[in-house]
């Protein structure tokens, strides 16, 4: 995992470990140095989401500037909210409503450039309006 000291971290929460890991690998390559941590699959590696994996990923991604969490679908949101509720007051991690791949790319490029959490979240949200071609 490439670590950028003091940069905003990105966590990708997916129902599939392979999807989260692949997206993180791609996004890291494009952003050149952002911290992107996958949190995919259930505790036993099946399809679904895991609050334990999400919490561990937030911890890994935190470098002192906050963490942006991008979920893929439905229960990824619910599981992340459960984790954030548990960590209430102990984390600056923020869940954002953004497309999984484009949002992650935009957020990681912003984070890699040293943007703060508000700007990284805004970059991810703006990706919703970005046409693919």
């Amino acid at each position: 995992m490439t670590e950028g000291l003091g940069l905003v971290g990105i966590v990708l929460v997916s129902h599939s470990a392979a999807l989260a890991e692949g997206a993180a690998e791609l996004v890291q390559q494009i952003s050149g140095g952002a911290t992107v941590v996958p949190a995919g699959g259930t505790d036993d590696g099946g399809l679904g989401t895991s609050t334990a994996r999400i919490e561990a990923a937030i911890d890994d991604a935190e470098a002192g500037s906050g963490v942006l969490i991008i979920p893929d679908l439905g229960s990824a949101v619910l599981s992340t909210r459960a984790v954030l509720a548990d960590l209430a007051g102990e984390t600056t991690a923020r869940l954002v409503d953004a497309p999984f791949v484009e949002g992650a790319v935009a957020a990681a490029v912003a984070a890699g450039g040293g943007a703060d959490l508000d700007a990284v979240a805004a970059a991810a949200e703006e990706a919703r309006d970005a046409a693919k071609f």
Partner: protein
Amino acid sequence: MPPSSDDGAAERVVVLPKPLHARPAGQLARLAGRHKETTIQLVAGAKKANARGVLAVMAMGAVTGTEVTLTVTGPDAEAVADEAAGILTAAEAVDG
């Protein structure tokens, strides 16, 4: 190019030796991120994008042979324009 921190404007026209895909788009966005006061605008035919927007740059769909005009305004415009042109014209591994 003499170093200068004066505000300025610079233009470069390059013909892409490779498609403007995710990796160079990311490099341009990082360059833009390092020069927050400087604006890097790309134009290819009817498509335009600000280099800060990595998704917008990818969405230009610029393929090999496309002529891209870079317009750079702000501090260190000349140096930033050279670096941006270098990213666009670099071969896969080394500067071309």
